[in-house]
Symmetry: D2
């Protein structure tokens, strides 16, 4: 079994034991991802990029796990294959950011 | 090879071809996740939860893929094992949300 | 004195008493606004739009105040006049959303 | 008339000309603030804090104005007095962050 499938099954089992699917509409799952992303950002707030690399590893792990958990649940709700959607997006980004135009540049593709 | 490893390798290859690791400090990766989460939320803005389920599937896939991509890159930067951190978090959440106390409730554990 | 000026002065006084200007670069102030926005969103998470109107008023006030505080500090850092930038944006939005095309529609201007 | 009142009236007039109050429940207004905050953050993404101070001023103005606009509309919906809620929050923060404990420190009050 793939990793994503294993994790998704564990998440669904956790959710269903609590009968939480009733709350997990797409909109609220998206809001939840945004909230967890903000909690991740809070770990780095007011810190220089260098000091951020010293931030609390346990907390980073937990916030990343929360983001991934809600992302997997939303993907599962829509029947998306994680492997496929990420590989498709990498391909699409390759067209938006050709190597020769974007090398060493952090510029958004709309401004390249 | 695990799915996560395969995707992480594809993301790192894409990043390194453009020499973008120089921009990918933890703080900016976290900000990037937050931005992609907001783009996902925008797909559902001003819509009822029911109408959200009809939202553009292609766009949802792309925004979810962006969130996952930056999350995998941040995990890779810190050497985290995705499978492990998500399973650890599920276990921890099980302690914060015991089935008997949280069933059918969307209440935050601090208010249970 | 204008309200904005009064509030900005109170915020700057608070900041300077703690010597916090050293942390208040534009990037971190923007991140802080995003974090406070997520804390506001958390008050409404997993709730129907109707139930949201019953949410904790004290908490909504506090999160809104935090968002406004960091927004005023960022505006002050760049010397922006709040009244002017908001009135300018309303004018600009009027061009993006002409009444006849956008009435009763929650559609983004790029899709109108 | 206070600045806030003037801006709120202009925003309400804009909203009502398009009959948009039907979309402006508290939950979606909060999501909208989060989206605008992310657009502000995008202006600074992958930039060093120093380079951020050189970012596009026009875009910063616009994103700040959008954040303020939705914050004022949400405050108006709940009948909050902006001046009062911000001054109340400054007072509350003064108790969480006493000068002697927080001077020169970016530490969150829970860790002080």
């Amino acid at each position: 079994m793939s990793d994503f499938k294993e994790l998704t099954e564990a998440l669904v089992k956790f959710r269903d034991a609590r009968n939480w699917e009733q709350f997990h509409n797409s909109k609220d799952l998206a809001v939840a991802i945004g909230i967890e992303a903000a909690e991740l950002n809070e770990l780095f707030l007011w810190k220089t990029p260098e000091d951020c690399e010293e931030a609390n590893r346990t907390r980073i792990k937990e916030e990343l796990a929360d983001i991934l958990a809600f992302a997997l649940l939303l993907a599962n709700k829509h029947g998306f294959d994680i492997r496929e959607i990420v590989l498709d997006k990498i391909k699409k980004n390759g067209e938006k950011y050709p190597v020769e135009k974007s090398k060493n540049l952090a510029t958004k593709y709309t401004d390249l």
